[in-house]
């Protein structure tokens, strides 16, 4: 039996951000501009806005099963038999995608950077890194993303600044020339590449994140900033390369980086820029691979997933060699089949799960009901409590601990998000146990303030004072996460 791994909400935000960028940063400009020409940037903006709706769907599903991964949620909601079938479908999607991304990184390196090296070498080297990262676990991976994220943002800012002198504004004219049909088609393409895969994050989102409320916010902010970066890349591709040139290339962002020339002296720095998408592709490949490993372990009910990493790693590396015979196959697949294939398992399946969970009234507090109040304090609640303590270390620790030992168990039995109700306890002391017992609306009442607005809130039972103090503490703990994102959002605006 291995201990549960927990990541912080800031780490989750960074993973969301880089995951949503993923391979899209390389291929999205050409897929989107091939249909809607110079209006691709409008498509991207609408696409990001629609993606937030999808994120809302994922968050709503995550709140239904806060302690389970997506695979376990399948079995809880749909029953053992049908749950296993849908879970296997989802695993086939993630496993094939992991192999596909290894193919993709190999094909990119072979066509653009190292022409004479066989793709197997890149797939093997990248695969070893992925396997090693999975072996170390999601915690180590999340910490590594915290290191990679500033590098990514720095390179992105340098990239934007260096390419901006080459902008030809006439490339974007005439605006709104594309027909509504081509706009909707390429918007579907954009969403399928950008936000459909976000469902894979449901493997870590409710179950492995310590503060649910700020992680929800991180889900929205991460996908929004990721979308913003993609919009900027698409706009730059259109402005610098022109729509026809962008659509004709397999990796337009790389061609964009080749154009960088600082005073006719610093040139050909595209490989440094390529670090940017190697980072994002690493994170996406890891998430697909991790989801496959955890998924297979959970479908087969194996307690420790680590023994399965090496065999699945072998399969993935082998898959990368056979999955696409050539780049044209990959291009047609990504254009025509991937939106349908991934749409079934990343949009229809969560939607189905959510509807069935609503009908069956699964609200995320099952499983804890049988335990007595006193006994659940230690084992059941310890993981998220201890972590939220770390997060809220600015608050007074003494009151926090004492309040937890008194009433923390109640909150765990009743409420959706353990850690946010913890915050409440630390502020309120003993009297808070009443409001905690009342309903699971602790978290959803928070939600109203955090601007995402979960529609499922019924905070009728809560007293005013409790929700007020809740807000204040919640904001305190959130400040640790937001400045980073705000800064990056501002800087990428420039």
């Amino acid at each position: 039996m291995m201990e549960k791994e927990i990541i912080s909400s800031r780490q989750f935000m960074i993973i969301t951000l880089l995951f949503s960028i993923g391979t899209a940063i390389l291929i999205i400009p050409s897929t989107v501009t091939s249909e809607s020409k110079q209006d691709a940037w409008i498509v991207a903006i609408i696409g990001v806005a629609i993606s937030l709706l999808l994120v809302k769907l994922f968050v709503a599903l995550g709140n239904r099963t806060p302690t389970q991964t997506f695979i376990e949620a399948n079995e809880t909601i749909l029953g053992r038999f049908f749950g296993k079938i849908t879970a296997l479908g989802f695993i086939s999607l993630t496993l094939l995608s992991a192999g596909e991304l290894l193919f993709f990184i190999g094909a990119f390196m072979k066509t653009e950077v190292m022409v004479e090296t066989p793709t197997m070498v890149f797939a093997l080297l990248f695969g070893i890194i992925i396997v090693y990262a999975t072996y170390l676990g999601i915690e180590v991976f999340a910490r590594s993303t915290e290191i990679l994220f500033p590098i990514f943002i720095l390179i992105f800012i340098v990239f934007v600044i260096c390419i901006s002198p080459q902008i030809h504004i006439e490339n974007i004219k005439p605006i709104l020339e594309a027909s509504p049909k081509s706009i909707s088609f390429s918007m579907f393409q954009f969403i399928s590449l950008f936000s459909f895969p976000l469902a894979v994050l449901l493997m870590i989102f409710p179950s492995a994140v310590n503060v649910h409320k700020s992680a929800q916010k991180g889900f929205y902010i991460g996908s929004m900033i990721g979308g913003l970066i993609l919009i900027i890349i698409i706009i730059l591709c259109i402005l610098v390369l022109g729509p026809a040139n962008t659509a004709a290339r397999i990796s337009p962002s790389y061609a964009l980086a080749q154009r960088i020339s600082i005073g006719n002296f610093v040139q050909r720095i595209e490989v440094i820029m390529a670090v940017m998408w190697i980072i994002s592709i690493f994170i996406r490949t890891f998430m697909y691979f991790y989801a496959s490993v955890i998924g297979i372990a959970q479908v087969c009910k194996i307690k420790d997933h680590r023994p399965l990493i090496f065999p699945i790693g072998l399969i993935t590396i082998g898959l990368s060699q056979i999955i696409h015979p050539n780049i044209v196959h990959s291009y047609t697949y990504n254009r025509e089949i991937w939106p349908l294939f991934s749409g079934v398992f990343t949009v229809s399946l969560p939607l189905l799960l959510l509807i069935v969970a609503m009908i069956r009234k699964i609200n995320g507090n099952q499983g804890n009901t049988t335990q007595s109040n006193t006994s659940s304090n230690g084992g059941n609640s310890s993981q998220s409590e201890s972590n939220s303590n770390d997060e809220n270390s600015t608050q007074s620790n003494n009151s926090n601990n004492s309040a937890q030992s008194d009433s923390g168990n109640n909150s765990n039995n009743s409420s959706q998000s353990n850690s946010s109700s913890n915050n409440e306890n630390s502020a309120q002391g003993d009297s808070s146990s009443n409001s905690n017992n009342s309903s699971q609306s602790d978290s959803s009442s928070n939600n109203e303030n955090s601007a995402q607005g979960d529609s499922s809130s019924d905070n009728s039972n809560q007293s005013d004072s409790s929700s007020d103090s809740n807000n204040s503490t919640q904001n305190e703990s959130d400040t640790g996460n937001t400045p980073n994102s705000d800064r990056s959002g501002n800087s990428s605006d420039k």
Binding site: P307, L308, L314, I317, I322, H329, Y333, F341
Partner: protein, 77 residues
């Protein structure tokens, strides 16, 4: 040919490293799943190294989803 032996050696060393610990913990199901996955992985990689023509699993996916794609295309025209 050399690659085949290398892959077999790698698979055997992975099996030797992991199966004893699983045996010690008496996880029979894990051993079975592990062995099946390792066999698939080794066979796949040997096939790749011998340059056999293995059909892409995505062709199956394409086969399943192409009727839906054709339907959507015919609806939008």
């Amino acid at each position: 040919m050399i690659m085949t032996i290398v892959i077999l050696l790698i698979s055997a060393s992975i099996a030797l490293a992991i199966i004893p610990t699983l045996k010690k913990n008496k996880e029979k199901k894990a051993i079975v799943i592990f062995s099946i996955l390792l066999l698939i992985g080794a066979a796949l990689n040997i096939g790749v190294s011998l340059r056999l023509k293995i059909p892409s699993p995505l062709d199956l996916v394409t086969f399943i989803f192409s009727p839906i794609r054709d339907l959507i295309i015919s609806l939008t025209k």
